[in-house]
């Protein structure tokens, strides 16, 4: 990696509060252009809220986001031209067919007409849904919807691709194929990849840089080697667990959880 690489995402002192809850608490990080950045953390740590802020879906309570030199808060439509996103939860239209969903996407994302057919065909092949392209999405299983969702994220080739737990619930074969293609986009088109995942091996293999967020704060960031060294661990999974603890998390912490959390903080 050249030391002169440009930062495509710059986040400074970013926070998001929901009432008293600090979902994201004063985080800062940079993502280099053309790199693969993994954003890890336990459930409810603030990953999705951060992605929503980066993708203009939620307004930050405070802080600054710059994407490709453009301020995210001032010029939302310019920012939206620069990224694509695969959401964590469903965002397909159930009453359209698989093909129609992709075609709709290609149209509102300004994919040139000449490229559309070819990209849609390729994406459907990649996720092995070509046979079902004229079926309504409401007839699809959860895994098939997930695959279609990813296929859709790949048909317009943005500067940055956000993937919020893209491979959740997919079998290893599909996961591998999808990552192969993402890697290809990253290398051939110099597309920056920003992703969250719970599969540590994915982050281990793919990411140039890794950041770990917990309770809204970034508690570690750096290359895989740095993280392993700093936590004296042999694998990313170990360093993740060393950093975030081994207790279970819930998506929405209950008041008892928060009490436990405070107790743990005090005990430290």
């Amino acid at each position: 990696m050249s030391p002169f690489r440009k930062n495509i995402i710059e986040v400074e002192n970013l926070s998001k509060y929901f009432g008293n809850l600090k979902a994201v608490d004063n985080i800062s990080f940079k993502v280099e252009k053309g790199s693969v950045f993994a954003f890890l953390g336990p459930n409810g740590a603030g990953k999705s809220t951060t992605i929503k802020m980066l993708t203009t879906l939620t307004k930050p309570s405070s802080g600054r986001i710059n994407i490709d030199g453009v301020n995210c808060l001032e010029n939302k439509s310019e920012i939206r031209k620069r990224f694509g996103i695969v959401f964590q939860d469903q965002s397909l239209d159930d009453e359209l067919t698989a093909y129609e969903n992709l075609n709709f996407h290609a149209a509102i994302y300004n994919v040139p007409k000449k490229l559309r057919e070819q990209r849609i065909k390729f994406a459907l092949n990649l996720v092995e849904l070509s046979q079902r392209k004229n079926d309504f999405v409401k007839t699809f299983s959860g895994g098939m919807k997930r695959r279609l969702e990813i296929a859709r994220g790949l048909i317009h080739h943005p500067l940055i691709l956000f993937l919020d737990e893209p491979t959740l619930g997919l079998d290893p074969q599909t996961r591998n194929k999808i990552w192969e293609h993402i890697e290809e986009l990253n290398q051939k088109e110099n597309m920056t990849i920003f992703f969250t995942t719970h599969y540590m091996p994915e982050a281990e293999q793919m990411a140039d840089k890794i950041a770990i967020i917990d309770y809204g704060k970034i508690i570690a960031q750096g290359t895989l080697a740095q993280l392993k060294k700093n936590t004296k661990s042999t694998s990313l999974e170990d360093s993740f667990l060393n950093l975030t603890g081994r207790s279970l998390r819930e998506e929405n912490a209950t008041s008892i959880d928060r009490m436990r959390m405070r107790r743990r903080v005090f005990r430290r």
Partner: protein
């Protein structure tokens, strides 16, 4: 850029055309109203010297159908939010106003089609419109449809969950319909109620639609069209502003 408007419009039409149960279900209400009110109040209306009630009622029911369909198409944004599709359109690299316009025109197209279907049904019950001003009647239908689809989108942009749905139904849509002059003539109403009817945008649509279907020309046409055009433009701007501020 304009392609975004087109695909949003097309999506709306496809969804409408494919959901046959919804299509048929939404025709049940106007038929019921037409039969219950038409045959129920018809004789009394005639005795009071109002003439054939079906002639009076049918345009009101056609307007009602368009109102309901338009509002529901607009409020569909709440569904899109609930089922996730809204996200896909919100992060799209096109100005949100195009998304909003596409949805408005799509919803309005569906509402006009529904209105025309009901117009044909009223013919079976005995409605005999004057066809000379038919294009004008369609213009009024289109204005009603555009106004209320934008209105629905404006409401849905501020409301996050489907719980609010019966509230919208009972406190906005039903009063708009009942106090528009769709069911009864407004001359002779108590003053406060007449004022309410006169500030109801639907009133100008109903009146325009009824007169043009009866072939009555006059200055009302220009006045009503102007009022509806201005209101539709304002509502569209409000809807666009609220929609462009939608967050998840």
């Amino acid at each position: 850029m304009s392609e975004a408007i087109y695909v949003m419009w097309l999506r709306q039409l496809k969804r409408y055309w494919r959901s046959k149960p919804r299509l048929i279900g939404s025709l049940a209400q106007p038929i019921l109203f037409l039969i219950a009110f038409g045959f129920g109040f018809g004789p009394t209306f005639q005795k009071a010297g109002g003439g054939d009630y079906i002639q009076f009622l049918a345009p009101g029911i056609i307007a009602m159908t368009t109102l309901f369909t338009a509002m529901f198409s607009g409020i569909e944004v709440i569904w899109d939010r609930k089922f996730g599709f809204l996200k896909e359109t919100l992060v799209a690299p096109v100005p949100r106003i195009y998304i909003m316009l596409g949805k408005t025109i799509g919803g309005a197209t569906v509402a006009v089609i529904q209105g025309i279907v009901v117009l044909m049904l009223t013919l079976i019950v005995g409605f005999r419109p004057n066809v000379t001003l038919l294009p004008l009647a369609f213009l009024f239908l289109a204005l009603i449809a555009l106004f209320f689809t934008s209105f629905g989108i404006a409401i849905a942009s501020k409301i996050e969950d489907m719980q609010a749905f019966p509230l919208i139904m009972n406190f906005i849509i039903m009063p708009l319909f009942f106090l528009s002059g769709a069911l009864f003539p407004i001359n002779g109403l108590p003053k406060p109620i007449e004022i309410i009817v006169r500030i109801n945008p639907l009133h100008y649509g109903v009146e325009g639609l009824r007169n043009s279907l009866m072939g009555i020309t006059g200055s009302y046409i220009t006045v009503n069209i102007l009022i509806l055009l201005v209101l539709t433009a304002i509502m569209n701007i409000i809807g666009s502003l609220l929609f462009s501020k939608v967050e998840l």
